[in-house]
């Protein structure tokens, strides 16, 4: 291999500020998309349990359709397909305020909302019914049973898979580069284009992603340990 390494390109010129902007955009779009995904996940999860069929069907349709289609297709759909159908003033506002960021955020949030819904549902389903029945037998009201027994257990069961899913969301935010959101992967490519130093640029981007993922995973592992109920969930740690 005949390649001249020049690690200097990463801190000379604009590379440093590009990387920093990339990290901030990645974190920003992921955080907003995460809030949207959590809200949609909880909402559709709740709607799947209501005793009215059309609402249940709508929630099932949302989950099954949106999580089974590639995120990239949703990016193109929300960025190229939907804005032309919006009213004129909304379109103007969007294209003056970074339409690609909002479309990317929306695509990411709606896609991961459908996946989050499955995570939440399987977490709640894995709580034995007897927990609820025992709470009733102890004389708790339904509200108390949820507040004191079901929700605390459910949250602990959901945290590990939800962390996993949140990291997927963070990594998937890189797909937004296809609609030219200037996130971390986009900036990495930009450095590569300006300096023709692909390996250095990709190394920087890759390491930043690894550091972000590993540190989030470490924090969540600490949260999990901190709030563990001894004997309830058998997990090494």
């Amino acid at each position: 291999m005949n390649y001249q390494f020049q690690w200097g390109v990463l801190w000379s010129g604009q590379s440093g500020s590009w990387l920093l902007q990339g990290v901030l955009t990645t974190l920003g779009i992921s955080a907003l998309a995460w809030i949207l995904a959590a809200a949609l996940g909880i909402l559709s999860g709740a709607l799947r349990t209501v005793p009215w069929r059309p609402l249940r069907a709508a929630a099932v349709f949302y989950v099954e359709f949106f999580r089974n289609v590639p995120l990239l297709v949703w990016m193109f759909f929300w960025y190229f397909g939907v804005p032309p159908l919006l009213p004129r003033p909304v379109q103007d506002w969007l294209f003056n305020h970074g339409a690609e960021f909002w479309a990317g955020m929306f695509a990411l949030g709606v896609y991961h909302g459908a996946r989050m819904s499955e995570v939440i549902r399987s977490g709640i389903q894995s709580i034995p019914r007897t927990q609820f029945e025992a709470s009733m037998a102890m004389g708790l009201t339904t509200f108390q049973a949820y507040r004191l027994v079901i929700v605390p257990i459910a949250l602990r069961l959901i945290v590990p898979p939800a962390t996993n899913e949140s990291l997927n969301l963070l990594k998937n935010s890189s797909v937004a580069l296809t609609i030219s959101v200037a996130e971390l992967t986009f900036q990495t490519r930009q450095i590569e284009t300006y300096t023709a130093k692909a390996i250095e640029a990709l190394t920087a981007g890759t390491l930043i992603y690894l550091v972000l993922c590993v540190s989030i995973a470490a924090v969540m592992a600490w949260v999990e340990r901190r709030f563990r109920i001894p004997g309830l969930i058998a997990r090494g740690g």
């Binding site: 089974n68 289609v69 990239l72 190229f80 397909g81 032309p84 890189s174 580069l177 390996i199 992603y209």
Partner: protein, 225 residues
């Protein structure tokens, strides 16, 4: 408002060229997804077994491999392969080779985790009993543990195959003409993004949903046996 004529007039190109890869561009989602799934799973078995090895010089590299690729976006891995392979081999590689290499390497990490969990879900006594009746460790793995492990793995394997199938759309970033790229090509001419992207969303959905249907039937049959 929905202009379905644009779908009808480009249906052949989108499905034949984009999905099956029959046409002037080569390409094709299925032509990429099927080998990627098979090879990724085979490499994943190796990675999963290596993670369970007793010798640290086998186990640690495998663990590092898995942790590394699970912490990096697939898009990044595709760019890595795209830039590195021509540098290493001193010859240009077609998009197909780049995409296939990236998917196999990346997904093997995820398949490896599934294989490891599947093997660990088989009770220890099974392997011990196999050794006790005179099988070698390799035979015990091949005839006793792996068949049971594979059955336990089916649900998560199918989920991962569906993920990989969807991920092949990212090959369009480096110019591979799959279903997504085919829709882009048609859209450049027709400017009907809403209809076209919704249509390929439905095509992707039909493929992934039927995969999960087949898996559910398969699960029921093996559970009964």
């Amino acid at each position: 408002m929905l202009d379905l004529a644009v779908i009808a007039s480009n249906f052949r190109f989108l499905v034949l060229q984009g999905l099956f890869g029959v046409g002037a561009f080569g390409g094709g989602t299925l032509r990429l997804a099927i080998p990627a799934i098979v090879l990724g799973f085979l490499l994943g078995i190796g990675v999963g077994l290596a993670r369970l090895a007793r010798a640290p010089w086998i186990r640690l590299p495998a663990s590092t491999y898995v942790e590394f690729f699970r912490g990096v976006p697939l898009v990044m891995v595709i760019f890595w392969i795209w830039f590195i392979i021509p540098q290493l081999l001193r010859l240009p590689i077609p998009e197909y080779g780049v995409a296939l290499t990236a998917f196999v390497i990346f997904e093997a990490a995820y398949f490896g985790e599934i294989v490891r969990a599947g093997i660990q879900s088989v009770p220890r006594g099974q392997g011990e009993a196999a050794i006790a009746i005179g099988l070698t460790p390799a035979q015990a793995m091949r005839f006793i543990v792996l068949p049971q492990a594979l059955r336990n793995m089916v649900p998560s394997l199918v989920t991962q195959m569906i993920v990989l199938f969807k991920d092949t759309s990212l090959a369009s970033i480096i110019g591979y003409v799959d279903l997504t790229k085919a829709a882009q090509i048609v859209n450049n001419r027709e400017i009907r993004p809403f209809e076209l992207y919704l249509f390929i969303a439905v095509v992707y959905w039909i493929c992934t949903y039927s995969m999960s249907r087949v898996a559910r039937r398969f699960e029921r049959r093996t559970a009964a046996a």
